[in-house]
Amino acid sequence: MSFDYLFTGFGVALAWQNLLIGIAGCFLGTLIGALPAVGPINGIAILLPIAYTAGLPPESTLILLSCVYFGAEYGGRISSILLNVPGDASAVMTAIDGYPAARAGRGGQALVISAIASFCGGVTSSLLFVFFAPLLGLLAIRFGPAEYFVLMMFAFATLASMVGEKPVKTLIGCVLGLLLTTIGLDPTSGAYRFTFHQPELHDGIEFIVLVIGLFSISEILLLLEHQISGSFKPVELKRGFPSWADIRSCIPSIIRSIGSGFVIGVLPGTGASVASAVAYTTEKRLLDKGTFGKGDLRGVAAPEAANNSAATGAFVPMLTLGVPGSGTTAVMLGALMLYSITPGPQLFVERPEIVGGLIASFFVANALLLIMNIPLIQVFVRLLTLPNWVLVPAILILSILGVYSAYSSITSVLLMIGIGVGGWMLRKLGFDMAPVILGFVLGHLMETNLRNALAISGGEPQILFKSTVSITLWVMAAAILVLPWWVKRRADRRNG
């Protein structure tokens, strides 16, 4: 296995201008993650058009976005722990034990533990990435249209069984996301679908419009609701570092969570939020003696380690297969496409500075973030105390400008607002936004590959079940769908 691309990458990532971009990205990401309402996906979606407009080269843009991504994963825990307002979905599990710890005056300890767990998760998973990404890249060569279609089916299957308490809602979200991709010109037949003779819809719905609408605008509406109902209350942070015994007690949880987090992160359609949920529930099952949910630091360490591990793992399918492992890497995939870069195994050979620079930036970002985070905890906390009347208008204007600067279209901005209202309704109904985003991102790939596969086979659907890779993926998808149901049914029978 050649690591030449990595050496090239460290050269790129440690170039002074990219290092500065990385530091800025880490700082901005931590702020973005820490701010309630602006998660990593929003931060990246807002910064992508800025980076593009500023004319940054692709490797610098990717370094900036990945540093923002990791920074946001680090920062997301701050509002989670202090305010019980997760910066994004992956920080939800951190709030379960982090917030009670903060209420008990151990907020500083919880923040330090989460920074250490995030660092361990980020660095270890980056090492796993170095060893496994090229192998997965070799596997990607064996992927044809049929295999890619089955891979999409597998991604949806993992999402359906693992996200949320209501798989029906997850599936509806996926279908809505998929449906949105059918709007516009069909590239295969040249037919206009669901454009209703509106020229603005001929190109379909732009990804940034959808992401900013679904996340930022809907969050602003929810924040207004919390503001008026009085359920938005900041808490005071007290100083304090965890003892060595506290840190030692978290180590086994961190190790287990890194492993499970990376595997889940690699699976397309799962991502950091699923990884943190699995890690937390596993640790709760293994270790809970009535302390979980009441400020147990292991309940903070586990989801944080898994969260950052999955954040790295999600890049594996994105770079090697062109399939995003999470909503955020879906935006990163959009960034690659914006620069006309096609992800896949050839990317490691043809553009080593991009892949290597990105992987090297994972290590650099995690080191920078640990150095920045521990001493700066108090500073971030003060920024969090900014009142909503300063914060929310800034989010709104950034959202409007993010879309306008990308498309120079008032219609796109209005569409974003409309999508935001739809997103708010879905969130009120208890829908997760990630399936909608993933459906949207995977939709084109899914339809195009299915149609290409059937065009190759002359309409014979057997092509979808022919290769070993396809059969393996079908079996895995079926197992993921059936196993939880079967286990639950068995447990129900046992309990009478």
Partner: protein, 155 residues
Amino acid sequence: MTSDVHTATGQLGERVAAGLIAAFGAGVIIATTQIEFAFSSDPLGPRFFPYVLGGLLVVLGLLYLRSPGGGSAMPQRQILLRQGFLLLVTVLAILSYPLVGFLPASVILVAIVSRLFGASLLQAVLTGAIQSVLFWALFGPLLGTHLPTGSLWGV
């Protein structure tokens, strides 16, 4: 008791939404029949995928109708009115960009949103002015985005 009423209202809302999702799926199927194309190089054609998705939405909507849950009740009228007001102001500000320009429209938008989130009049006006100028400077002169200057001012 209040919680029960809250849950019941939430479930009613979810049932209505589930019905709408199923109806939307049916609408997608009908709209798909209207897609016109002369030739397709693949055996499925451009109608297949929307048909499947529309059908799936109908089935999933009905499944959701059978077992709602997990959603929260719609907010009170007062909250809904404020949310509606926020959206109205935002849409009006966006629509007025070509006429009055980004900067004046944004100052007013930010000030009103700031006020909605609890700022005093002075705080709201200052927030509106400072944030609008900062973001205009960041996106306009610094990043080179052509922000609307406003036809009203003859620019």
